[in-house]
């Protein structure tokens, strides 16, 4: 008769706790990575977020939209 497949320990209860613990940690790591990614993306895309980080002007000057001005003079 085959033993039911459990984890390495062979203890069903311990394996269940290990798995839950692993899932929790994986979830935590994923959320940290996702949050970091989102902040990085928004900081790159949105000047307002840059201003939150204190670098709005530098960002605006470097990657602002094209500009148009009409000058006037005489000769």
């Amino acid at each position: 008769m085959l033993e039911p497949r459990t984890g390495e320990s062979g203890d069903k209860r311990a394996d269940s706790i290990d798995r839950r613990d692993f899932c929790k940690k994986a979830l935590k790591r994923s959320s940290i990575v996702a949050a970091a990614g989102a902040v990085g993306y928004l900081a790159y895309k949105k000047p307002e977020i840059q201003s939150f980080f204190g670098a709005r002007e530098a960002y605006a000057n470097g990657t602002g939209p094209g500009r148009f001005s009409l000058r006037g003079d005489s000769n």
């Binding site: 470097g62 990657t63 602002g64 939209p65 094209g66 500009r67 148009f68 001005s69 009409l70 000058r71 006037g72 003079d73 005489s74 000769n75």
Partner: protein, 208 residues
């Protein structure tokens, strides 16, 4: 006899041609006494449009005035952000109304513009020799329609085409030729009345 008649006819044709040319050039008949350059000349831009390859995009619409003698950027048409695209033509619309200040020196006497008509409204400013009475007079160019009409200057090709991108800063210049554009005229003596008119305006849009 026939030959002489031919020569006479030819002479008449030449004289008639010369006469027509003189009629078409008022300056031949009424040369200005003297000319001068405005010290202030205000121009109002009402619209700026650019062609993006399929339609005219309005970059500015409203009323932006600038004294072209001082020069600079039209108030309200600075640091605008055009919609993304590549533009190959531009057209500027101005108001046919040019408030100006200026004077003309004639035989050692300065004649200044006033706010009073010295002829048809908008075409001649009654002149004064009192500098303290100098005032702004609003001219218009009858060739561009009525006073305060909007006049679209000829569209101009942008070459190379202007592409809106993060680092682009497109600054064309509206330039009027104002040197010696003021002309002093008068009625005949013994009690001449002086007035200042504006010769035909020349405007160009200088692209960067």
């Amino acid at each position: 006899m026939t030959r002489r008649y031919c020569i006479f006819l030819q002479t008449m044709v030449v004289l008639a041609f010369a006469f027509v040319l003189m009629l078409r050039s008022p300056n031949v008949w009424a040369a200005a006494l003297a000319t001068g350059t405005p010290i202030s000349f205000k121009v109002t831009v009402t619209k700026v449009e650019m062609w993006n390859g399929s339609l005219w995009v309005t970059i500015f619409s409203g009323s932006a005035q600038l004294d072209l003698v001082a020069g600079g950027i039209f108030s309200g048409i600075g640091n605008l952000t055009p919609p993304e695209g590549t533009y190959s033509k531009i057209q500027v619309t101005i108001r046919n109304s040019f408030p100006l200040l200026g004077s003309v020196n004639y035989q050692g006497v300065s004649y200044y513009t006033t706010g009073v008509d010295g002829g048809d409204p908008g075409t001649g400013s009654l002149a004064t020799t009192v500098s303290g009475s100098q005032a702004e007079y609003t001219f218009y160019d009858p060739g561009w329609g009525n006073l305060n009409d909007e006049y679209a200057l000829p569209e101009q090709t942008i070459s190379p085409a202007f592409t809106v991108a993060p680092s682009t800063d497109f600054q064309p210049t509206l330039r009027f030729t104002l040197t010696d554009m003021l002309e002093l005229d008068s009625t005949p003596p013994p009690a001449p009345i002086y007035w200042i008119s504006l010769s035909l305006l020349t405007v160009t849009l200088v692209l960067p």
